[in-house]
Structures are given as C-alpha cells and as structure tokens.
C-alpha cells in the first residue's frame, strides 16, 4: 500500500442472510429440525472499491439501506467482510454511536477513563489528557455527576471529546454530531480542519449535505451497496439530490 493512503478498500462485499423465521433458542432448533428454512439474502455491499488518502475529510452519503453503516462497521472491525480486501494504515477510532461503553451509573470522570481505555489508550495516557478532555467537552463542574443525569447533548460532548483525544489516525463517524448544538458542532469541525495538517483522516457518514459541501475534501455516494459516484463533494451531493427527487417521483 502506498504511504499516503489511509484506507484502501478493494472489491469489498458483504451479504447478510436474514432468515424469515429467526431461531434464537436451542428449543427452536429442536422444534424446527424438520421444517424448511427459508431466508433472504441482502447484499449490503457489492464490490466496493475506493481509497482514502491520509489527511482527507471523506464524506459518505446515501439513502437508508445503501450500505453506509455496514461499510463503516467493516472499517471499524466490527463486521467481517465476505469478500474483498480492506487495508487500513493507522489506528482507528470509531464513533458510531453516542457514548459507546458509557455507563450511566458511573460518573463522567469514570466514564472518560473507561471509554478512553476502550478506545485503546492506556491509563497513563488518559491521566495526561484528562483535563483537556474535560475542557473540550465543556462539562467542567458536572464531571463528577453520574452520566444518567446528563442531557443527550452533554453526553455526546463528553463522548466526542474522548474520541478526539484518543488521538487516532483515522476517525470514523456515523451521524453522531447531529445531537450537539451548533457551537459545539463548529468547534468539532474546526478540530477536523487541524487534522489535515496532521495527516489524520476523517470519514463521516451523514445525511447533512451542507456539511459535506462545506467540509469534505471528497465524497462518495452509495446506492444499494454500490458506489454511484465518488469524488468532488458538490457533484456527489448534486447527484444525491437528483436521485432523491427521482426516487420520490417514482413512489408518487
């Protein structure tokens, strides 16, 4: 893999088999031993090939069910692919949902440690970064309160602050910023602007086309598990809008 490439995805496919009747117990296995099993195959990703350079802010858009989240989960290592290759150059900090590993019964402080360690930091590293994390999250005096008393905006700020300070080469994000207020959002995007110089990569899955237009260096449009268009964000967004209008006409 070339040195300036952060992520290289080659001919990636992922199929889910969805049984019509899901058997989730051993009893079910015994009972249905002789009955016929039917299932549906759903091709979430179909021969997807693309590369993302280091330092790039890369947007992924597409309608629901187009394969965006599956792709992100494969990049994060959560799902394994059926076919094709994924090569990742650097360490990944996935941020797919608000407060992963957050435990509402624990204080903000404990959660910072837990979450950062889950993201791969050592306790010593968290000690060093702790004050910065709190400062960035703007939580200050609430840090020793239990997270269950936080508002959703507060917990996303906390989680996001941890994710940013985990200081990974590649940040994967799925629509999570939508919860924060606009001030916090723009603060995050300012942070991402610094990433370019540090050669850090951001991959953002979103429905917010204005964010794609404003911040992304490149964007990709997925449709039914295939890449529809990849490249200039404006063109990609235009195609997405046209597609949406066309789809709407079809259904009406």
């Amino acid at each position: 893999m070339e040195k300036d490439i952060a992520i290289s995805v080659d001919n990636l496919s992922k199929t889910f088999t969805i049984p019509h009747e899901k058997i989730s117990t051993l009893r079910g296995v015994f009972v249905s031993v002789f009955s016929e099993k039917s299932y549906e195959r759903f091709k979430a990703l179909d021969s997807v090939t693309f590369k993302v350079k280091k330092g790039e802010f890369f947007g992924i858009i597409g309608r629901n069910g187009s394969g965006k989240s599956t792709l992100l989960k494969i990049l994060a290592g959560i799902y394994t692919a059926d076919g094709g290759k994924v090569a990742i150059n650097g360490r990944v900090s996935p941020f797919l949902e608000l407060g992963i590993g957050f435990n509402p019964e624990l204080s903000g402080r404990d959660n910072i440690y837990l979450n950062a360690i889950v993201l791969g930091l050592t306790k010593k590293q968290v000690d060093k970064k702790f004050d910065d994390i709190v400062a960035f999250s703007e939580l200050g005096r609430f840090i020793d309160q239990k997270v269950k008393n936080y508002s959703s905006g507060m917990s996303v700020r906390l989680a996001f602050s941890v994710a940013i300070h985990a200081n990974r080469d590649i940040l994967l994000m799925d629509e999570v910023l939508a919860v924060g207020d606009t001030n916090f959002q723009s603060k995050c995007f300012e942070e991402f602007d610094k990433y370019r110089k540090q050669e850090k990569t951001v991959i953002l899955v979103t429905h917010d086309i204005s964010i794609v237009k404003r911040y992304c260096d490149r964007a990709m449009l997925l449709r039914n598990g295939k890449i529809e268009i990849i490249g200039d964000p404006d063109k990609t967004v235009d195609q997405y809008t046209r597609q949406n209008i066309a789809d709407e006409k079809e259904t009406t």
């Binding site: 959560i78 996935p94 992963i100 590993g101 019964e105």
Partner: protein
C-alpha cells in the same frame, strides 16, 4: 503497516471493564459488599443448620463439617456465578460488540475476572470462619486451595469462551445452564461428604470437574489428605486441553458475534 485492530492495552482494558462491573455491583460502598456475600453466607447458615440438626454428617466421622460446607459453597458459588457472568458477558455489553471494536475475548475475560474479585472477597469470610472455629491449616494445605482456585478460574474461563458466543445465538442457554448448575450442585460433594456414597460411584462423581475441585479442596484444607499425584496430573491436563479447545471454538465463532447479537 499499522494495524487498526491492535490494542496495546488489553490488560488494562480487561481490568477496567472488570473494575467497572465490580464497582457497580457494590455501588462503591461497604454495605454493597455485605449484600454481595449475603447469598453464599445465608446458604451456608441454612445448610449448616439443616445438616447439623437434622442429618448430621459429623456422626459419620466428619469432624470439620461446617468449614468444609462453607468452603464448598463459596467455591461452587464462584463457579456458578463465574460461568453465568461469562455466559452473559457479550449480551450484557452488547454496545461494546456492535458499536466499537474491542477484542471480544476481553469482554468475556473481564466478566469472569469480576467473579474472581468477588470470590477473593469471599475468602475473607472463609478465613473469618476458620479463625472462629480455631482451625489453622498449614502452608501446603493453603497452597493446594489456591491451586484449585486457579483451576476453577481456568474452568470458568474455558466455559465462557465457548458459551458466550453461543449464547448470542441461542438465548435459552442461560436457562438451561441454570438448571445444569443446580444439578451440578447436588452432584458435587458439597452438602454431603463423598465418603457417604458407595465407593463405586466415586469415580463417576469425581469426573465432574467442579466436584473434583471441591472434594479435594475440602480434603486438603481440613483433613490434610491429597489426591494422588497422577490424578491431579490427569485433572490438570484435562483442564488445559479444555482451555485450548475453548480458544479454538472462540476463534471460530468470534467473527459472527456482532451480526448475531
């Protein structure tokens, strides 16, 4: 090339997950601790009463019945809670499986280590009763006990590596396992001494690993009587083989955990 899936801090990850569980269980208070030991303690007191007043194994020559009973119950409690926690671990922490990548074995290991913490706390209760009954085991006796504790832990871990990914798929496993642990409780020489059974059943009873551990812990601790070396050797090899098998099974099932959960 760097690898995205590498975590350098496995040990810290496992420990901090386990500590979180531990903290939540005790709510960070001494009273929480009392609560946690209440179950095995009450069980001991009830069984001790029943088997001291109604059926008394001491009549059969078991001198330190109460201490044996207590140790056995604590060990069995460690086994049953540990395996249950291991079985449940992935489901209980499903967001760590579906929303982020951490090596899944760390989640399973953390749950079992939490049970180990709790058991180590329970050792204080055991020590208290040994002092209470003024019984002082010697160093080899205590070392044997520690040795069997370690084996129990490996047994729990092996079970969990096999069962936790299966439980993701078959959600009635926990109910099945609950029934099995109840059977195992009575199939192990906990409330009764092994000597009470006809000798031809001894091999059969001791084929159950937790029964073997409990029987020989009791024997070592209170009667200074040990399993023959070859039996211990065979037992340790069996546990190690089981552990290796569990690792193989885990490696096979790991990839599909996130999709099935």
């Amino acid at each position: 090339m760097g690898n995205s899936r590498r975590h350098e801090n496995y040990w810290e990850l496992v420990l901090s997950l386990a500590k979180t569980d531990f903290k939540l269980r005790y709510h960070g208070s001494a009273l929480g601790y009392v609560w946690a030991i209440l179950k095995p303690l009450l069980m001991f007191l009830v069984l001790n009463f029943v088997f001291s007043s109604i059926f008394n194994p001491r009549n059969g020559g078991v001198q330190h019945y109460s201490l044996q009973l207590l140790t056995s119950i604590m060990l069995f409690n460690f086994f049953s809670e540990g395996t249950m926690a291991g079985l449940n671990s992935l489901i209980a922490k499903s967001t760590l499986v579906t929303k982020i990548y951490v090596p899944r074995w760390t989640i399973i290991a953390a749950a079992t280590i939490n049970s180990l913490f709790i058991f180590l706390m329970n050792l204080i209760v055991i020590a208290f009763f040994f002092v209470w009954y003024q019984f002082w085991p010697g160093i080899p006796q205590i070392l044997t006990f520690l040795f069997y504790i370690a084996l129990t832990y490996i047994l729990i871990l092996s079970f969990s590596f096999i069962a936790a990914p299966l439980f993701v798929k078959f959600r009635d496993l926990s109910q099945i396992w609950e029934v099995i642990t109840t059977v195992l409780f009575y199939a192990s020489p906990i409330v009764y001494p092994l000597a009470l059974l006809p000798i031809q059943y001894h091999q059969l009873i001791l084929a159950n690993p937790i029964a073997f551990i409990i029987h020989f812990t009791k024997m070592a601790l209170t009667e200074n009587h040990y399993a023959p070396l070859w039996e211990n050797g065979l037992f340790v090899s069996a546990i190690i083989i089981l552990f290796l098998i569990s690792l193989l099974v885990y490696r096979k099932t790991e990839a599909k955990i996130a999709e099935n959960i």
